[in-house]
């Protein structure tokens, strides 16, 4: 690089005769400093100008132009040559003439003063500028903060949701307008109040625990529905969300509560819930509400807790309903409900309507049997006076099953069932009374209960089977017929006889498929025996229930069954009870005639236990009569009674014969009776003396024995 110094420039020289500063070293000094960041052309211009100024300062022999030297220094600062090392280097170059040269020292001093002055000025300016920038930035930040605060205040004040702020000690510090509105409070009403004052008896369990956990920092928020008292004492329901605000160290400092008024929603829910849990007619809790409450009793009970149930059924309600109409019946139910409610509610008991004319009283925390009985007596007393409705004075009573038990001893379902069964005992024992639960009787009732519940599936599962009981000719004791007796092998109760479940089967309608099944089985069995033993096979007797006799399909059914198993109709005798036929114009009479026309014979079963209308024996196409077992089995007694009994039996036998009917005596348990009956001319006998109901194999064995047949035929 050539020297930037113009040729004509005058100036000092160093001891070697070079000008001061040395142009090359000056240029190199600047390039090594801030010049590195500059464009080479700009640096070149700076080097030229500063050298020029320094030369100019030395132009006069006698007086140094300190101003020019200072300007050179200032120019460098202006171009950002602010590094102290640069100043040191520059002074070195300016003093190159040697320490003895005063002018050089003076030059360096003037340059340094100019540099320092400019640097001080520049530093102050820059400090001022950066301070100004910092202040501006701070003001901007503060303005933004104020705006933010204003925004928050506006948000807080005009939020549609109620917002309250409190400290962790529970002091309410601020609430917004919406929260004042929710609480119906004026500004200032909430100030100074404490969060803990805002309790309500319907606060859900756990709300205050959650609150304590939050303010102690164990949780950061919680949310739930909570009622509050408004300033005017009304209740307002809110959805509450509480959050904790911590400081930078994580210490809880504030709590914020946000509340939404959900009173309308809550009331609607309540109404819907009321509708779902209350009986619309009486306004009492309904069945599901009752079970809910009952189950709550069983939900984590205190040790030794007891409860009571009064299962109430109105006596004679059906008569009112049938005779005076449903509307009257409904009014009566409503009136009864009102009486029960006003009599029992004050005692703290729950009255619910289970349906129809059934009500129940639930005694939670029952103190003992007496209390439950007292409740039942209260029910009876409440219904003692007639109920005036539309000018009628309706006398209505009730039967009550009372149950009082330790909670731990039972389950809700078992308790209600037991109370229900106890109620039926009350009904059986005569109405208008209460009956106390009796565990032993209950067990029996329960088995009846178990029968009806289980029966519908029992047929499908093949739980029924048939035993056969011999009917023997009294003349020679030979087997004349067998009676098919259905049995139920109940999985819990063991084998049940017909009298234990036929009643239920009749009630439930199961008698129809069951009866058909019995006919199919019995006829099939009889046909088998005929195939095996020909004429030596016994006639088959099958019982027909009342409902079966009245069933329009009976004739078709029997015809189909006989055909399908190939049994001669004359080998089938159907036993009907007196009650099967009501009178000469009964529809079922026609069916019975059809059966007889088909070749099937009919017998009247259990004769003497029912109405025993002798007149209808004349109309019925029966060929046989079975004297009820009680007539014969009662003959055990001696004396006058016994004579009378025999005389009745004898009368029945001769009556039957006079009508052209054969007679079978049931319940024959010993040989004496058999002899006496034979002497009276009775045709056949049935009873333990002639054989108990037995499995078909036993009957086969007996036929073979009687006819001296080999087992392996």
């Amino acid at each position: 690089m050539t020297s930037p110094l113009p040729a004509e420039q005058q100036g000092s020289t160093d001891s070697a005769g070079r000008s001061i500063p040395d142009p090359d070293r000056w240029s190199s000094l600047l390039r090594g400093s801030q010049g590195a960041a500059m464009h080479p052309d700009a640096l070149h211009r700076l080097v030229s100008r500063t050298t020029e100024l320094l030369q100019l300062a030395q132009a006069e022999e006698d007086a140094l132009d300190t101003g020019a030297a200072a300007e050179a220094g200032a120019l460098l600062v202006e171009s950002h040559f602010t590094d102290p090392d640069l100043l040191a280097g520059a002074i070195g170059l300016l003093q190159a003439g040697g320490p003895g040269q005063l002018r050089c020292a003076e030059l360096a001093g003037a340059f340094a003063a100019g540099w320092a002055e400019a640097l001080r000025e520049r530093t102050l300016q820059e400090q001022e500028a950066i301070r100004l920038a910092a202040d501006t930035a701070r003001r901007e930040a503060e303005r933004a903060l104020r705006e933010s605060e204003a925004r928050f205040r506006a948000l807080f004040e005009s939020a549609a949701i109620g917002i309250g702020i409190g400290d962790v000690e529970g002091n309410i510090l601020a609430v917004n307008k919406a929260l004042q509105d929710i609480f119906g409070a004026r500004p200032g009403d909430m100030q100074g109040r404490r969060v803990n004052d805002l309790v309500h008896p319907e606060d859900s369990p756990g709300v205050w625990e959650a609150y304590e956990e939050m303010v102690s920092g164990k949780r950061d928020h919680f949310s739930l529905d909570k009622p509050y008292y408004r300033q005017d004492g009304e209740v307002v329901w809110t959805h509450l969300t509480c959050s904790l605000i911590r400081d930078d160290d994580g210490t809880p400092v504030y709590q914020v509560a946000m509340l939404e008024d959900i009173t309308d929603r809550y009331r609607l829910q309540e109404r819907l819930r009321h509708q779902a849990t209350h009986d619309p007619l009486t306004g009492l809790p309904n069945r599901s509400a009752f079970f809910e409450r009952l189950e709550a009793v069983f939900d984590s009970p205190e040790p030794g807790a007891r409860f009571g149930l009064c299962y109430v059924d109105l006596d004679g309600f059906k008569v009112v309903n049938d005779s005076l109409g449903h509307e009257m019946g409904d009014q009566l139910l409503a009136a009864v409900a009102l009486r029960l409610e006003s009599a029992l509610r004050p005692l703290g008991h729950l009255v619910a309507r289970l349906g129809g004319d059934e009500f129940v009283v639930l005694l939670e925390d029952c103190r003992g049997e007496q209390e439950a009985v007292a409740a039942a007596k209260t029910v009876l007393a409440a219904l003692a006076k007639p109920v005036p409705i539309d000018g009628h004075r309706l006398a209505i009573g009730a039967s009550i099953g009372v149950l009082e038990r330790p909670v731990a001893a039972t389950t809700p379902m078992a308790a209600v069932r037991a109370a229900d069964l106890t109620l039926y005992r009350a009904k059986e024992e005569g109405r208008g009374r209460w009956t106390l639960f009796d565990p032993q009787r209950n067990a029996r009732s329960v088995s009846r209960y178990a029968v009806s519940v289980r029966m519908p599936v029992a047929l499908d599962r093949g739980e029924f089977f048939i035993d056969y009981q011999p009917l023997c000719r009294l003349s020679d004791g030979s087997l004349s017929a067998v009676e098919a007796l259905v049995r139920w092998r109940h999985p819990q109760l063991g084998v049940l006889g017909p009298d234990e479940f036929i009643g239920t089967a009749e009630e439930t309608g199961l008698i129809m498929p069951l009866g058909r099944w019995v006919l199919e089985q019995a006829c099939g069995q009889a046909a088998d025996w005929v195939r095996q033993f020909g004429d030596r096979a016994p006639q088959i007797n099958v019982n027909l229930a009342v409902r079966q006799v009245r069933n329009a399909g009976l004739v078709t059914d029997i015809d189909r069954i006989l055909r399908s198993c190939g049994l001669d109709p004359s080998r089938l005798q159907l036993e009907i009870t007196e009650s099967a036929v009501v009178g000469p114009k009964d529809e079922s009479l026609r069916a019975l005639h059809s059966l007889v026309d088909m070749g099937v014979s009919l017998a009247v079963d259990d004769f003497g236990t029912g109405w025993s209308n002798l007149a209808y024996l004349r109309d019925l196409p029966v060929s046989s009569l079975k004297i009820a077992g009680s007539f014969v089995s009662d003959l055990k007694e001696t004396g006058r009674e016994q004579q009378l009994g025999w005389r009745i039996v004898g009368g029945l036998v001769s009556l039957s014969h006079s009508l052209g009917l054969t007679v079978t005596a049931e319940g024959v348990e010993n040989a004496d009776h058999a002899t006496r009956l034979r002497q009276m001319g009775c045709d056949r006998a049935q009873g333990w003396h002639f054989g108990r109901p037995a499995r078909p194999e036993e009957i086969v064995r007996r036929i073979m024995e009687e006819h001296d047949l080999k087992p392996d035929k």
Binding site: H80, A129, I130, A133, A134
Partner: protein
């Protein structure tokens, strides 16, 4: 979408700020005690720092000059800091008098200072935004206006990407910015490398970890990949003094001692 800044971040002049520390390195007085303390400590540990900063400033000047000579009139300078001397608009206008520059920084003091300086310059704007939220940055009206004209824009990321941590995903930020640039735009990067002075890298980064802007020096390979999607102009990615020096002598014997790797790429 960035959440509205409900409460502005506080200003803390007791903590060093990268922009003011940089100013001190360059011999300026736009700084406070905390900045100076930090800068002095850094220089004590690494005496080359002022030289490096000058080299960085020189690169910025050369890159802007190059781009202006190429016809660029729109510049987006992100991480502009405190424009002490040789500000982008001054350099660019030597060749393109109509140049428009949008300066972006997240340091409120740097932004305030720049605004005071540029108050009367209608072709320049200063935006307070953060590179690590490029969507927000691009949505600022001044930036959107600059990019929206469809004319090429020179994006300057000079000594700023190494203040973006890996968690903040520098590649993702670059992709977002690249997608917003009109065709023919340019990207200039200066980024502190690990390779230049491996002996200094750890202590220097440790020092910056105490500032609000920790520093992440990166490998040459990673820095090269920042130009994905751009075509590098000659001489590619090189050490600070090596990029288009005005005089061969200015490169020096050890350009790697300047640590910063730089390059300029053009978007096809």
């Amino acid at each position: 979408m960035r959440r509205p800044s409900w409460v502005p971040e506080g200003m803390d002049l007791d903590r060093p700020a990268a922009a003011r520390v940089y100013d001190y390195y360059l011999g300026g007085s736009h700084n406070f005690a905390a900045d100076r303390e930090m800068a002095r400590k850094a220089i004590e540990l690494w005496p080359d720092l002022p030289l490096i900063m000058r080299a960085n400033r020189a690169f910025l000047r050369r890159a802007v000059t190059f781009l202006a000579q190429q016809g660029f009139t729109r510049f987006l300078d992100i991480g502009s800091g405190i424009p002490t001397f040789g500000a982008v608009h001054e350099v660019a206008r030597e060749f393109q008098p109509d140049s428009r520059v949008v300066y972006v920084d997240k340091d409120p003091v740097a932004v305030a200072h720049s605004r005071l300086l540029l108050e009367d310059d209608k072709a320049c704007a200063v935006v307070d935004a953060d590179l690590t939220d490029p969507q927000d940055l691009l949505s600022r009206p001044e930036v959107a206006e600059l990019l929206g004209a469809g004319e090429p824009v020179a994006l300057l990321l000079v000594a700023v990407l190494h203040f973006v941590t890996d968690e903040q995903d520098p590649e993702g930020i670059l992709a977002t910015l690249r997608d917003a640039l009109p065709p023919g735009s340019a990207l200039a990067i200066c980024h502190a490398s690990l390779e230049g002075r491996p002996d200094q890298a750890e202590t220097h980064q440790a020092l910056y970890r105490r500032t609000p802007t920790p520093m992440k020096m990166r490998s040459a390979e990673r820095i090269n990949r920042f130009f994905e999607g751009f075509e590098l102009v000659e001489p590619g990615v090189v050490y600070l003094p090596q990029w288009r020096p005005e005089e061969p002598a200015a490169v020096g014997e050890h350009p790697e001692r300047m640590v910063g790797l730089v390059g300029v790429g053009l978007l096809p």
